[in-house]
Symmetry: C2
Subunit: 334 residues, 2 copies
C-alpha cells in the first residue's frame, strides 16, 4: 500500500509515526506493508517509490523544518512524480477557498487515487463535488478525522448504525470552547479562561475560529453532507459563539443544576451552532477538551460518543482507521 | 435472507418489528428482503419457508402468549424443520448452564448457519468453544447486543478501532444499578431507590443479578473474550455489588465533587466489577439508566460510548446492526 502524505505538520507527522508503529499489524492483517512513497509540506517534498522511513521523515522535519530537499511551486506536479494508492491530505485547512488541500484532493481523485483527509476546508466547501468526483472515478474517499478527531462518528454512523434512521446529531465539536466553558463553571471569567487555553496550547493566538463557533460550524456542515445527505456549506449554518457568555449566565445555570455548552446540531431541518443549557450528568455536559456527540436514532434511541478532538496521534488514529477500512475494502474486492 | 428467531420475548418481538420496519432498507441496500422463516418461544413454534409476517407474529404472541400452534420438547428438532441462513438466538439467558440458548447456538453453528445472539449466558460460559465452532464451520457469529444493548461497543472495537491497541475498557454495564445510584445522588436511600427501580420496571422482583454485579460481570467476561482475546468465564471476575453503598458514602463523594458508579473493568491483567469514585463531569459519571464504556487505546486515547442498555427496539437495533454486517459480508463474498 503506497501512501502520499500532503501536509507534514502535527497530523502528518503523527500519521508517519503511526505507520511506523503499526507496520506489523498491516503485515499480519493484510499481508502487505504500508509505504510512504511521497511527502510534501508547504515548501518542500521528497519522493521514493521504494518507500521512505517514516521516523526519518519526522526527525528530518523536526530538525530542518522541511520534509525534503526539493522545493516546488505547483503541488499537483509533485503528486505526479511518484505512483501511489492513497493520498493522505492533512495540509493546513483553509475554510475560505479550500486552499491547496482542495486542489490536491481534486487532483488525486481525478487520477483514480483513493483519498483520506482531515482537512475541513475542502469538505465544508465542496463536499458534493468531491463525493461525485470520487464516485465517477471509483475512488474511496474517507474523512473520519475531520469531525471530532479521534472521536468515532462518521464511520460509526455510516457503518455500525447503517440500518438506523438518524434523526439528529448534537455535539461538542470544539475542545477549546469546552475547556473555556469548563473553567468558567469553576468561576473563572471568560478572558482568563481563554488566556489559560492559549497557555495550554489549546487555543490559537487568534482564537476567533474556535470561540466564534466557526470551527464547530464546519463540522456540522460535514456531518450534514456526509450523514444526512445534504448539500450545504458553511453559510447555511446559524452560528452563535461563546464570547458573550457571562459569569452570571454560568452561575444562573449552575443554580438550576445545569452547565452551558457550545452545541452543534444537525437534523433534517436544522443546522446550528449555539450555546445551550445542558443538565449536569447528561452525556453532553462533560468538562474539559473532549469532543462529544449524541446521535439520535429511530431504533437505538440516543447514542453518545466522545473522544479527543485534536492531538498528534489522536487525529492520526482517525486517518489510520480510514486507511484500514480502505485496505479491507480493497482486499475484499481483489 | 432467511432468519430463524429463538426466543420471542421483548427482544425477539422487537426484532420482528424491526424487520418489518426496515424491509425497504434491505431491498434498497442488498437487493433482497429479510424473511422470518421460523420462530420459537419456550413452548411453541411456527415455521414457513415462504416467510411469516413479522407483525402478525407479534400480535399473535401478545394475544395468545404463544407464537405458534405447534408445541415441541426438543428445540434443535424445531430448528431442523426449515432451512434458514441466520439464527437469531434471543431466548432468556441462563448464566449457570447456558440453557437452551447454548444448545441452539451450538446446533446452528454445527450445521453451518450464521448466528446472532444477545444471550449472555452462552457467551459468558462457552465463548471459546462457540468461536472455534463458528470458525470450523465458516460461520459468522455476532453478539453486539450482549453488552450494553444499543450502545455500540464490540463491533466498534473490532472494526472502527481495529488498528488500535486497546489497553482497557471501563464502563457502566447495568442500567438498573446506575438508576439506583443516580437516585441515591439525590438523597434517596438504597432501599427506596431500588423500590423505585422495580416500580419503573428496570429491576426484577429478585434484583440480585443486577445489584450484586453479576450481570455486569457477564458483560466484562464477553468483552475480555471478544476484544482482549482471553479465555475467561464468570468465575474469573472479582465482583462487588452496590448493596453496601450507604447514603454517607454518597454524601462524602459528593462533598469531593464525585459520584459513585458501579464500574466493570477489563484489561490485560484485570477483570473486575466494583463501585468506584468518579469525578462529576467525567464521561463515566453519567446519571440514569444509560450504559457507558470508556475504551482506552494506544493512539486515540480514551474513547467513550454510551447508549440504552436495554429495551425492546434498542436491543433489537444491535441485532439489526449484526444482521446488516452479515448481509454486507455475504454480499462481498458472493
Amino acid at each position: 500500500m503506497r501512501v502520499f502524505i500532503c501536509g507534514f505538520g502535527t497530523v502528518g507527522q503523527g500519521f508517519a509515526e503511526v505507520v511506523a508503529r503499526k507496520q506489523q499489524y498491516f503485515v499480519d492483517k493484510f499481508g502487505q506493508d504500508v509505504r510512504i512513497v511521497g511527502v510534501m509540506d508547504s515548501k518542500s517534498y521528497t519522493v521514493d517509490p521504494e518507500g521512505i522511513d517514516p521516523l526519518e521523515l519526522v526527525s528530518r522535519k523536526q530538525t530542518t523544518r522541511r520534509v525534503g530537499d526539493e522545493t516546488y511551486t505547483v503541488s499537483t506536479e509533485v503528486l505526479d512524480k511518484v505512483d501511489y494508492d492513497v493520498l493522505v491530505e492533512v495540509s493546513p485547512t483553509d475554510v475560505k477557498t479550500g486552499g491547496v488541500g482542495l486542489i490536491n484532493i481534486r487532483h488525486a481523485l481525478s487520477n483514480g487515487k483513493d483519498v483520506i483527509t482531515v482537512n475541513k476546508g475542502p469538505l465544508a466547501l465542496k463536499f458534493r463535488e468531491l463525493i461525485d468526483l470520487a464516485k465517477a472515478n471509483r475512488c474511496k474517499f474517507r474523512f473520519e478525522g475531520s469531525v471530532g478527531g479521534a472521536m468515532p462518528i462518521i464511520n460509526l454512523c455510516r457503518e455500525s448504525l447503517a440500518g438506523e434512521n438518524i434523526k439528529s446529531i448534537r455535539g461538542i465539536f470544539n475542545g477549546t470552547c469546552n475547556f473555556i466553558l469548563s473553567k468558567m463553571d469553576k468561576g473563572q471569567p471568560f478572558e482568563q479562561a481563554l488566556k489559560e487555553a492559549q497557555q495550554m496550547g489549546y487555543a490559537e493566538t487568534d482564537p476567533t475560529n474556535d470561540i466564534e463557533g466557526y470551527d464547530s460550524a464546519c463540522k456540522v456542515v460535514i456531518l450534514a453532507n456526509s450523514i444526512f445527505g445534504k448539500d450545504v456549506t458553511f453559510d447555511d449554518v446559524q452560528i452563535t459563539g461563546i464570547t458573550s457568555i457571562t459569569e452570571e449566565a454560568i452561575a444562573l445555570a449552575a443554580s438550576r443544576n445545569m452547565v452551558i455548552r457550545l452545541i452543534g446540531e444537525v437534523s433534517e431541518n436544522k443546522l446550528e451552532v449555539s450555546p445551550r443549557l445542558i443538565p449536569k450528568g447528561h452525556p453532553l455536559g462533560i468538562s474539559g477538551t473532549l469532543n462529544t456527540a449524541q446521535i439520535l436514532t429511530d431504533l437505538a434511541g440516543p447514542i453518545t460518543v466522545s473522544g479527543r478532538g485534536a492531538g498528534r496521534l489522536e487525529t492520526a488514529s482517525a486517518v489510520l482507521s480510514d486507511l484500514i477500512a480502505i485496505m479491507d475494502e480493497r482486499r475484499r474486492e481483489a
